[in-house]
């Protein structure tokens, strides 16, 4: 089946390594809750060192593009300090010592199934529950809903999960398709779209079957199997595949009449609305050739990667990289102490065997990068000018439209670090425009 967007590639899927039902992972004794787990401004701590906190209590909040954070467990605030963050660098974090009493915070209310929400009510519930996009980009969900009001005719639930290895969303759909649809129905009730689509890559037959079955009790929604092709789950490519429209360069999905929500985000919305629970846990795929027993776990936010890897049997001797996220866009970790955050869909452990980097890579201008670029950019020329730090040419080549999907670097026979240079190039352009 031909892909429904331009370009893309087919890395080995490796999903078969880990198709186990997610098992709950006991919360550890010490949790590290970053005060910024979303795109936007960090939260200010609402607690002080020594405070007693209840499970689910809001411990940080802020103004502007900001989503509050909650503690998954009851315990004592041990410290508030800069700690390693899976996205790189450090973030001010609240460190909670779990007292295992499980005393619950009941600030959020569980609403009955037949509640009719106004847009403002729903947006408030979603924000107070600390919900961000859980597919990796962690855009504040309340802001996304607000930006779509009155503009959206197509609402898309994104269950594509096109990154190799990861199965968290696949298993979520198999186990809790109904919750995903309930969350989707909430958002649909305020966006009032003409079309509601649950898009799932066609390699996830069981997830599609589960969604189709759950759909029998939901009117006006359809499940749309889409061809398996990376990066089908990227927002812009998914919108193209579902509607044939393009999001204008520099614009938002709403500018193309679309709103896209990851399926895990929708399940979190369902939980917040109908169970009154904030977002404090998520499914994480712990997988890769360098971990002994790959498995899906339901982990409390703030659990260190080391605890997840231990639960999956530990690393093998030839472990080379530990990545937060998938192999195409994930962030490599230099240690295992970063915590699970709202956007952590996988902890991927790769072995040395998977390393195909070369010393001194040289472009041969084969042009394969052009044919896979889903934005139709010229990666090989962008690379040239990024190396030369030529801001004018980089702008002409639309470097800032690059979605950093990694397709070009994946197919490059010379193994050029294309995506790495583009990330550097974007930072360079930002500095140039500031100066």
């Amino acid at each position: 089946m031909k892909s429904l967007f331009y370009g893309g590639t087919h890395p080995p899927q490796k999903k078969e390594l880990c198709l186990k039902t997610p098992e709950p992972l006991a919360a550890p004794a010490i949790l590290t809750i970053p005060l910024r787990q979303h795109i936007g401004a960090p939260c200010k701590p609402l607690v002080s060192v020594g405070d007693l906190v209840k499970a689910g209590q809001k411990i940080g909040d802020g103004e502007g593009l900001c989503v509050p954070v909650h503690t998954p467990v009851a315990g004592i605030v041990e410290d508030i300090k800069e700690m390693p963050y899976p996205g790189g660098g450090t973030v001010l974090s609240v460190i909670i010592r779990n007292n295992f009493t499980d005393v619950k915070d009941n600030t959020l209310t569980a609403h009955p199934e037949d509640t009719v929400f106004s847009a403002e009510e729903l947006i408030r519930i979603v924000r107070e529950a600390g919900i961000t996009g859980m597919g990796g980009a962690t855009f504040p969900t309340d802001v996304k809903i607000r930006s779509g009001i009155g503009k959206v005719d197509t609402l898309i639930a994104n269950g594509c999960e096109c990154e190799p290895y990861i199965t968290a969303d696949d298993l979520l759909l198999r186990e809790r398709a109904r919750d995903v649809l309930r969350g989707l129905r909430c958002i649909a009730s305020v966006l009032e779209p003409k079309r509601i689509v649950i898009a799932v890559e066609n390699n996830k037959k069981e997830a599609i079957a589960a969604v189709t079955e759950a759909l029998s009790s939901f009117a006006g929604m359809v499940c749309l199997p889409v061809p398996t092709c990376y990066p089908q789950g990227a927002e812009k490519q998914l919108i193209m595949a579902v509607t044939g429209r393009e999001v204008p360069s520099g614009g938002l999905p709403a500018d193309a009449g679309c709103a896209v929500f990851n399926v895990a985000t929708l399940a979190a919305v369902c939980r917040a609305v109908y169970e009154g629970k904030p977002l404090t846990e998520r499914i994480v795929t712990v997988t890769g050739e360098a971990v002994r027993e790959p498995k899906n776990v339901i982990a409390a936010i703030g659990t260190p990667f080391s605890a997840l890897i231990e639960a999956a049997g530990g690393l093998t001797e030839d472990a080379d990289k530990v990545i937060s996220g998938g192999p195409m866009m994930g962030i490599a970790q230099n240690a295992l102490d970063a915590p699970v955050t709202k956007g952590t869909n996988a902890v991927l452990c790769l072995s040395r065997k998977d390393n195909r980097e070369v010393e001194h890579p040289v472009c041969i201008r084969c042009g394969k990068c052009l044919t896979v670029c889903p934005i139709r950019l010229q990666p090989l020329n962008m690379y040239l000018y990024a190396e030369a730090k030529n801001a004018e040419e980089l702008q002409k080549l639309h470097l800032n439209d690059c979605i950093e999907c990694g397709c070009c670097a994946y197919v490059c026979p010379a193994k050029l670090p294309l995506t790495a240079r583009f990330k550097e190039g974007k930072r360079f352009l930002k500095e140039e425009t500031k100066a």
């Binding site: 080995p12 394969k368 026979p413």
Partner: protein, 321 residues
């Protein structure tokens, strides 16, 4: 535990530069074998000199420039091989020696390293050899002759008019088309056997090393122009002889598709191929030499970057039109 930290993506495809170059060498083997069968083992000796000189040029360039690089990626072998195939089998050995070295040291090395040289190294080198050694470069011998291994006194060579010489008259060559397909005719080592070239080209397309855009546009343009502006009453025969004589096939399949010197945008590739076709016919019809492939491709090399700019695809999300 030492964890390696690099920027995404963390997995890479199987293709390598070395694999691509090896595929090109494999694709050239039928042509080299055919050239050897037609022009004796001397064809192999000329090729060996050219390849070794090309490797030496690359080696010396990296030594002098201190740029990192390695001969393992085989691209110098491809360059030497391609140059040899554009030479008559009778050339004195200093011609492939100078040509091979010049191709990698000057055109490819000083001209911008692997991947960034703006002219096809084999053809640019051939153009230089035409200037330096005009006599040795056009001394074509008949197929299946007996040739010594050492240098040949030009006076001893029984030259034979190639089909292109006849067409310059203009007249249809007195060679059967099937002989042109099989290579039973005079010409350069690698240009005479069309069947071998087509087999190599099909292999490269099958392996996705090249696409049909450049060779297809090139050959179709030559076919169309020689059909419309045929110099013989039998227009179809004129077109067929135009396609099967001289270096058009070698040029379209192996030279115009050179990664470094050709465009990367798909539409640009078609325009580029068509441009090569137009110039080839123009040079053949109005030029001093019977052949025009070398100069046609070199001229199009010069505007390849411009074509990539002109025919860049509209990016996702940019305004249409």
């Amino acid at each position: 535990m030492n964890l390696r930290v690099t920027v995404s993506p963390h997995i890479r495809g199987k293709d390598t530069t070395g694999r691509i170059m090896t595929d090109v060498i494999i694709a050239l083997l039928p042509t080299l074998i055919a050239g050897t069968l037609i022009f004796t083992y001397r064809a192999l000796l000329v090729t060996a000199v050219s390849v070794l000189a090309a490797l030496a040029g690359e080696f010396v360039y990296h030594l002098v420039s201190r740029e990192p690089g390695n001969l393992k990626n085989m691209s110098a072998v491809v360059t030497g091989l391609l140059l040899a195939l554009t030479l008559p089998v009778t050339v004195p050995y200093h011609i492939p020696l100078v040509g091979g070295f010049f191709a990698t040291f000057v055109v490819k090395g000083i001209g911008g390293r692997l991947g960034h040289n703006c002219f096809n190294p084999a053809l640019a080198s051939r153009a230089l050899l035409m200037l330096l050694f005009p006599v040795g470069m056009v001394r074509f011998t008949a197929p299946f002759g007996i040739l010594p291994a050492g240098n040949i006194d030009p006076a001893d060579i029984i030259t034979s008019a190639t089909p292109l010489h006849t067409m310059q008259m203009p007249a249809l060559p007195r060679v059967e088309l099937t002989d042109l397909l099989l290579g039973k005719t005079g010409g350069c080592i690698g240009e005479v056997c069309t069947v071998a070239l087509l087999v190599g080209g099909a292999y490269l397309v099958f392996r996705k090393v090249i696409s049909l855009r450049i060779p297809g546009a090139y050959l179709l343009t030559v076919a169309l122009l020689t059909l419309i502006f045929a110099k013989d009453e039998n227009v179809v025969a004129w077109m067929a002889y135009s396609l099967l004589s001289g270096g058009v096939m070698l040029g379209a399949i192996f030279m115009a598709t050179d990664y470094a010197s050709s465009p990367v945008e798909q539409t640009a590739q078609i325009v580029y191929g068509a441009g090569c076709g137009v110039l080839t016919v123009v040079f053949r019809y109005f030029g001093l030499f019977p052949e025009g492939v070398t100069y046609a491709i070199l001229m199009m090399n010069g505007i390849a970057p411009l074509l990539d700019r002109l025919f860049a695809r509209r990016i996702y999300g940019a305004k249409k039109g």
